[in-house]
Each structure stands twice: as C-alpha cells, then as structure tokens.
Symmetry: C2
C-alpha cells in the first residue's frame, strides 16, 4: 500500500468553493482501480491549506491508472484552478503504524 500526500494551498476566499468541488471530485478517485481510501483535512494554523491523503494499492495505481485516465482530466478541471502554488505530490510507504 502506498500513501499519496498532497499539501494543497487554496487561493484565499475560495476555500468553501474548493470544498464543494472536492466533494464531487472525490467520487472520481474512488472509482479508480487500486484506490483504497482517502481523507481531505483542513489546516487549523493556515485555514487555506488542506492535506489530501490517498491510500493506493501500488504507486502505479496513482501515477498510471489514475493520472493517465480520462477521469484525471475531469479531476483537473474541477480542482487544479484552486491551487496557488501548484502542489507537489509525494508518495510514502509505512515504516511504523499504530492505527
């Protein structure tokens, strides 16, 4: 299992709109092969910052099955215009977990 981590800085005053569009967009990733689970969380210290955490079966579930899909274009159209700067996305593997 791979964890995708994206810190999302949303343009000021667009937070509510972003949350509404994300509510729609999340259905897109939930239908991708290899998707396991996800969370969108909002930062307390910087309220225009969010973190998106997505668990995928493999790295390629995200980088190929999702990013090279037609659905990714929909995702981009719904969400990418909210970000400033455009986020870096990294992938992580568990070392220790007590959940």
């Amino acid at each position: 299992m791979i964890l995708e981590v994206a810190i999302l800085d949303v343009k000021q005053n667009e937070e509510k709109k972003f949350e509404m569009e994300f509510f729609k967009a999340q259905k897109i990733i939930m239908n991708i092969n290899g998707y396991i689970s996800h969370q969108l969380q909002r930062c307390i210290e910087r309220p225009n910052r969010y973190i998106l955490l997505v668990n995928w079966e493999t790295l390629e579930s995200h980088t190929i099955d999702f990013r090279l899909s037609d659905e990714y274009n929909e995702w981009r159209k719904l969400l990418h215009h909210f970000y400033d700067p455009f986020p870096e996305v990294d992938h992580y593997k568990t070392i220790y977990s007590n959940v």
Copy 2:
C-alpha cells in the same frame, strides 16, 4: 479528533538510525493522554523524507499534554538532532473521509 502532520527531513545517511530511534520514541507518544494513533511513513521520491501523522483527541492533547510534559524532553533528545531543516508541524481537521 485532530491530525498532527510533520514532514521530517532527516540528515543524509542517518535514515536507518532515525528509524531505530523512532521505534523507541513512539512509545512515548503512545502513553500521552489524548493520543489516538500514529504512522511514520517514508517518502519514495525523497528517501530521507518521512511523514509523521498522529491523531490526537484535541489540539491541546498535542500542544499542551504532550509538548509541556517531561516525556517531550525525552522525545526531543531521541529525535530532534536528526532533522535538517527543523520541521514545521501543522494540525488538521477532517473535511471528508472515506477510510
């Protein structure tokens, strides 16, 4: 519930030592009042980067019950010398979750 997020950049070639010390240190947070769960994950793209995710009952479980405790000094001694730069730590609240 509050999610603590820390992106940890560990000095080059100290990754294995860090993981061993973290294995000990994690017992410290697990005994703090308000601790719920945690994960340490390692970045695939930047192998000296880790993400620490800790779920706490409240923001104060982390900022007061943990950070003002004697146990925090132990945690600092075990781990803080590994980081360069010293990490920023943010706290998040769930907007959407499908886990």
